[in-house]
Structures are given as C-alpha cells and as structure tokens.
C-alpha cells in the first residue's frame, strides 16, 4: 500500500500544471541533509554493560511542492528518501522512502501572527537485518509564533505508529513482534538568533508509549523479571533479544546553526533522553553534525 501511495504522489507532483488562479501549485520543495551522528546507546539498553555505541552517516532528501490555498494557508506534498550507514553495526544500515503531507495556516497577515501546522508522514524502513524492517507513520500538530526577529517558539504534539514483522516466539504467550509500537510525544522548541548567521534552538519534550530495546542474553532474564514486556523476539543485530515495553521519557536537546547562505546551513546538535519504565532506566544521547540544504 505504501508503494502505491509513493508512486501516486510522484504522479500528482509531476503531472499537475501550475495555474494562474488564486489557489495553485506554487514553489517546489527540494531539500537535502547529510549528517554524521555519534550515538552512545544505539540499542537503547537499560544496562551499562550492554550499551552499544556507534557512528552513523545519514543522507536524506525531500522533493515536493507547495499548494497555495489562500493568502494564509498552504499545504505541501513531498517524497522522502534516505539512507543510513553505521560504522560498526552494519546490520542496522537502512534505506527509507516515504511521503509527507503538511498543512500550514497563519491566523492572519503579519510577521508575529501565530501559525498552526498539521503533518502526516509515512515511511518504509528497509533495514539490512530484515527482521528490523518496518513502516513508521507519524501525525503531528504544531502551533508556533515569531515574537521578534530573534525569538520564536513552537509547540508540537506527535503521534507515531510503527508496524513490523513478527519474529520467532521466545517466551510463551508473549508476542514475537516488538516492532509494532505506538507513542506520543509533546515538544517545545525555542529558536533564538544570536547573530545574523547564528541560530540557537533548544527543545524539551515528553514521550510516552512503547520503546524498543535490545539486550544480550544475560540481561534478558533481568528485564523479564523486572518489567512488563509487551513483545519480545530473537535479535539478529545485538546478539540477544529485542523487546518492547511501556516507558516514558524526557527528551531534551540543543542545536546551533550557522547559515552558510540563504539556502544552506551547518548544524551541531546534541540530543538526549532520560526514560523510565516500571523499574529500569533507559538513557542515551547523540551528537550530530549536519549539513542542510533547501531550495
């Protein structure tokens, strides 16, 4: 179904001509991102002796178009394509493709007028370790406003749903598909321009729902004893089991951007999470260097 939607979107984007009416297909979206990330807890393990650190190179592109509905409303339709490569954990390498649709509405005319944005996206992740391949869909709602040329704020609510394939049952009466997951996340973003070419973004969020964790065989027994696992199966990547359970987490981060030009920026970001299930803690952080391009 995702394949059909993908090709349908390509057809829509390329075939509809620009019209000279009030509502019409307007500017194109062409964006690309290259990032290098150091991840200190790739398997989201609750056990210090089990955490796997690695570096990831990711390249992603988006291609799409805006449709201007009125002077204050527009929506966009875009196709996303990305690829991830890990230095050590090659089995987690993946190619992903998907679509994203967004609707943006400004509540009037003016720089400081608030806006709202609704986003829907669906991505198919084709992971080298087949068992980890899954489809991930997101729905988001964002409210934001510029308060001055320097300062803007946004608050975003996101619902994410993941669907994967079932693996072998390792514990009787427990699902063998930990990749079927759902979670909510609410995040606040603060953007502050330090200088004309420097932007600081701080984010603070709260996540609640399923998490995916992998640990070695020794630690599986501890997890089984202490936590309420909702699904578990044998893991091809980290050598033990991969499981899901309910947890909540505080997510926080900082991003500094340097504008290389009107269309390009270099970002350094640090993001961390501190999560807790019933008993076990799940913590991690990553450091990203990103090159962003937008047409």
């Amino acid at each position: 179904m995702l394949n059909n939607s993908f090709y349908l979107c390509v057809f829509i984007l390329l075939s509809l001509p620009t019209q000279a009416n009030n509502s019409q297909w307007v500017e194109w979206i062409a964006a690309a991102q290259v990032s290098v990330t150091n991840i200190d807890n790739l398997n989201i393990s609750a056990f210090n002796n089990d955490k796997v650190a690695d570096n990831r190179l990711a390249i992603s592109t988006s291609f799409g178009r805006f449709y201007q509905i009125s002077s204050t409303s527009r929506f966009h339709l875009a196709l996303d394509l990305s690829t991830d490569k890990h230095r050590d954990t090659e089995l987690l390498d993946e190619t992903a493709y998907g679509i994203n649709i967004g609707f943006r509405h400004k509540f009037g005319v003016g720089f400081k007028v608030p806006y709202m944005q609704i986003g829907l996206n669906s991505t198919s992740h084709d992971v080298k370790a087949d068992s980890w391949s899954r489809n991930i869909s997101n729905a988001s709602f964002e409210l934001g406003q510029h308060f001055s040329e320097r300062l803007s704020l946004a608050a975003k609510l996101n619902y994410s749903s993941s669907n994967g394939s079932s693996g072998p049952i390792v514990i009787e009466d427990i699902s063998g598909n930990p990749f079927d997951q759902n979670h909510w996340q609410a995040t606040v973003y603060v953007d502050y321009m330090l200088e004309q070419n420097w932007l600081l973004t701080l984010n603070l969020g709260y996540r609640d729902g399923d998490i995916l964790s992998a640990c070695d065989k020794n630690n599986v027994d501890i997890v089984w004893e202490k936590e309420n696992i909702t699904a578990i199966t044998k893991d091809d990547i980290f050598g033990g089991c991969v499981y899901s359970l309910k947890a909540s987490a505080v997510m926080y981060g900082a991003n500094i951007s340097y504008a290389l030009s009107n269309h390009t920026a270099l970002d350094l970001a640090i993001n961390a999470y501190s999560g807790q299930a019933d008993v076990l803690d799940y913590k991690g952080k990553n450091l990203m260097l990103v090159f962003n391009y937008s047409y």
Partner: protein
C-alpha cells in the same frame, strides 16, 4: 557696427559669467557612513533638508528575486510611487502596517495591477506574508536631495547650491535614541565631505537558512 560689437561682447560676457556662476555655486556632498565599529554601513538613507523642493517624478522598482526584496532599502521623494514586480517563479504577498503607508498586494506573480503611491513622509516596513524572512524598507522624504549608501557605506548628493544645510541619516536598524543622525553643514565652492557614525542593531532580518529537518517544517 562698433555698437553691435560692444553689445554682442557684453552679451557673451554675461553668458560666460552666468555659466561660471552655476559652476561655482553647485557642489557635491560626499557621504560616508560607518557603524560603531567603524565598519562601512550600507542601506543608510542620507538626505538634505530643503526649504524649496523640486518635485521629481521617478520610476521606482522594488523587485522580488530568490525570495528576497531587492533593494533592501529604498528612499523616495514624497508623492512618488513604487512598482513591485515579482520576478520569482513563485507567488508573494506584500504588505505593510506602517503608519506612513498601509497597503497589501494580495498573492500575485508577475506585475501587480498598479504601483503603490507614498504620499506621507516616514518609514514603511514591508514584508511578505508567505515567506516570513522577507522584509524591506521604504523611507519617504520631503526632499529631492537624498541617497542610499552602497556596500562601502558611501554615496554622493550632487548639485547642492552654496549655503547652510541640515543633513539627516536614517538606517532601518538604528539602535536607541542617542544617535547623532543630524548634522549641520556649510556647502561652499568645493565639494564637501560628511561622515556619520551610527550605532546599529546586530540583526538585519529574521532567519532564512534551512532549519534542521527534525522539525519537518519548510
């Protein structure tokens, strides 16, 4: 015949004297504007206060290219009009809420139906409602002697007759009230130079470069 010769010579002399008088009386005012760090300050409007203003009608254009207004600052004489062609292959919506002129050109591409006339002096801050970072300024003066400084912070006002003048400077990002933006000057036979040192805010406009796409907002 002798009388004719004397009359013609007299006439020729008067013409030569008149021409020379014009050359002597009209001079150039060479302007230099710097910021608080002595760096050149472009986009500064510098104008001469006049008792008698020559009304000059000019074709003035503020274009939209690569999702930016060009130029960033335009100085015009009161009563003139500006045309806002959109040479981007996308649509823009230009508006201003400034007291000196409020207007809105709804979503359009190509040339708008008619130019916008500015009949009050003052500052007009303009923006595009689709592309938040797009902003520009129009400064309306009641004078026919004005310039906008270039990248080097320089400009020349020509054709000033000898006399005392007040010269004023304005920049869209002037900082605070205690800035020396008015100078008195005496224009004489030779070209005169004037220098303004203005304190400006750090930012010219809001963020335009792409944000880290974790935010997924274009």
């Amino acid at each position: 015949m002798f009388i004719h010769f004397k009359t013609n010579t007299l006439r020729l002399g008067i013409v030569i004297l008149a021409l020379n008088a014009n050359v002597i009386l009209a001079s150039d005012l060479k302007i230099s504007v710097v910021d608080e760090k002595e760096q050149p300050l472009p986009w500064t409007v510098v104008y001469v206060k006049q008792n008698k203003v020559l009304n000059q009608k000019k074709q003035i254009i503020v274009d939209q290219v690569d999702k930016e207004f060009t130029p960033y600052v335009t100085a015009i004489q009161k009563g003139n009009a500006i045309n806002f062609p959109n040479n981007d292959n996308i649509r823009h919506q230009v508006y201003s809420f400034s007291k000196a002129k409020q207007f809105e050109i709804p979503l359009y591409s190509g040339n708008p139906l008619r130019p916008v006339t500015f009949d009050k002096t003052g500052v007009i801050a303009m923006a595009c409602n689709i592309h938040d970072w797009m902003s520009a300024y129009v400064y309306v003066v009641d004078s026919d002697k004005f310039i906008v400084t270039n990248e080097q912070g320089k400009g020349v006002i020509s054709g000033l007759n000898a006399g005392e003048y007040q010269v004023l400077a304005w920049h869209p990002k002037l900082k605070g009230e205690s800035v020396d933006t008015t100078q008195s000057i005496n224009i004489g036979a030779l070209d005169t130079q004037i220098k303004f040192a203005l304190e400006k805010k750090t930012l010219l406009k809001s963020w335009r470069a792409p944000k880290n796409n974790r935010r997924r907002g274009y």
